[in-house]
Amino acid sequence: MDLKLLKLVTIVAEAVISDKIVREIKELGATGYTITAAEGQGSRGVRASEWEGKNMRIETLVGEAVSEAILQMLATHYFPNYAVVAYVEDVRVVRGDKYV
């Protein structure tokens, strides 16, 4: 089957900012995303938002330029004050043309 090389961007963030992040990644050119509830602990320890929901894991398949833009946006808007983890992986995607 024909597979296309894309970037999978995974963002784990406090639930309180997940709506804003989703809005911004769509503005940056992501055509879709998957969001799931997540639990865990990191260097910041407990979440401020744990009272209003746990963490969210946002995943999106994008081209390289958009993945860079998303990481840049996270670095300027969210890394300083929020609990956010982000990473990018190379993935081979079925029907990959839908995502770029």
Partner: protein, 320 residues
């Protein structure tokens, strides 16, 4: 009845005991867990039920009875964040965002403490005004806005106001409280009768479940007490007592009954942990959540629940 007996009576309610059971469950590392979805559903139920009942009673009371207490509630909710901020900055030497964040929480109110007070008054068979939930709604928002205005005036380059106001005013607690008040007001007692079995009879059971969860969350915060430091621990106990006494006094002054004055005292003394944390997290991200959540949830809430409510009642009885 002496203050000690009142505290005893207050502690021996299923609602308060459920809170301590929740704390105990966390301390002994029980596998007890309330699913997130259920917690969300319980909070929706409680907030809508408060609003509906308040709206029905508001429709039945005359505007003249309500206006002065409403003005008193608004004045308290506006003044408390101001002096709280000054004390936190000058005495506690906290940073601008931390002081503003904590001031927002203490100026805003706790719906669950409010409900526990109504349960306490009912157990003592003390009547209170039906429109009190409207005072709860009035006192929820102003402090958060005032604290954010203070923070903004003292910090450069903030995010847009539109987003912040949207977060506060479109947050679930305000939508449900004000929405419930409007529906209750519109349908009146007869219309409410249709949903009354669902929103009234199971109410205290739902509240007990909710407090079980709150006990667990509060106990998870206990290790953070050390990080909060002695000043904030003292602040979280002294300020509620001070605000509670002022609230009772104002309540008496604006013409509320004994029960109503106690409730206004409790509203003044209580600290928010539903509306304020989400709004503050978004608009004041530099503020340390450990400080505002630990003080409001792990200290002030249990303190009011166990000691504050009977204390404000004893004071109200003393001055009336």
């Amino acid at each position: 009845m002496g203050t000690l007996e009142l505290i005893q009576l207050n502690l021996l309610s299923p609602v308060v005991l459920a809170f301590f059971l929740g704390m105990l469950a966390t301390l002994v590392r029980s596998d007890l867990k309330i699913p997130d979805e259920l917690y969300q559903a319980l909070s929706v139920y409680l907030l809508l039920a408060i609003g509906l009942k308040g709206g029905v009673e508001l429709a039945a009371s005359s505007p003249g009875d309500f206006l002065l207490p409403a003005a008193g509630a608004l004045a308290l909710a506006s003044a408390i964040p101001l002096w709280s901020y000054i004390i936190l900055r000058k005495v506690g030497r906290l940073s601008v965002p931390d002081a503003a964040a904590i001031a927002a929480h203490y100026g805003s109110v706790s719906a669950v403490t409010f409900l526990a007070t109504l349960a306490f008054l009912s157990a003592l068979e003390i009547p209170y005004e039906g429109f009190l939930p409207a005072l709860l709604a009035i006192m929820e928002v102003p402090a958060i806005i005032i604290a954010l205005v203070i923070a903004r005036a003292n910090l450069p380059g903030r995010t847009s106001w539109g987003e912040v106001l949207h977060e506060i005013l479109a947050g679930k607690s305000i939508v449900l409280l004000l929405g419930g008040l409007a529906i209750g007001y519109a349908v009146g007692r007869e219309g409410f009768a249709a949903v009354e079995p669902f929103f009234v009879t199971p109410f205290h059971g739902v509240l007990a479940l909710f407090l079980l969860e709150m006990g667990m969350v509060a106990a998870q915060r206990l290790p953070d007490l050390r990080k909060a430091g002695p000043f904030l621990v003292a602040f979280a106990i002294v300020m509620p007592v001070l605000h509670g006494l002022i609230g009772v006094f104002v309540g008496n002054w604006v013409g509320l009954s004994l029960g109503g004055s106690v409730v206004l005292g409790v509203l003044s003394a209580s600290a928010s942990y539903i509306a304020a944390p989400a709004a503050v997290r978004l608009s004041l991200p530099e503020a340390n959540p450990t400080f505002y959540l630990t003080t409001s949830l792990a200290i002030t809430f249990p303190f009011n629940l166990a000691v504050g409510i009977p204390l404000y009642y004893a004071f109200a009885k003393f001055i009336l």
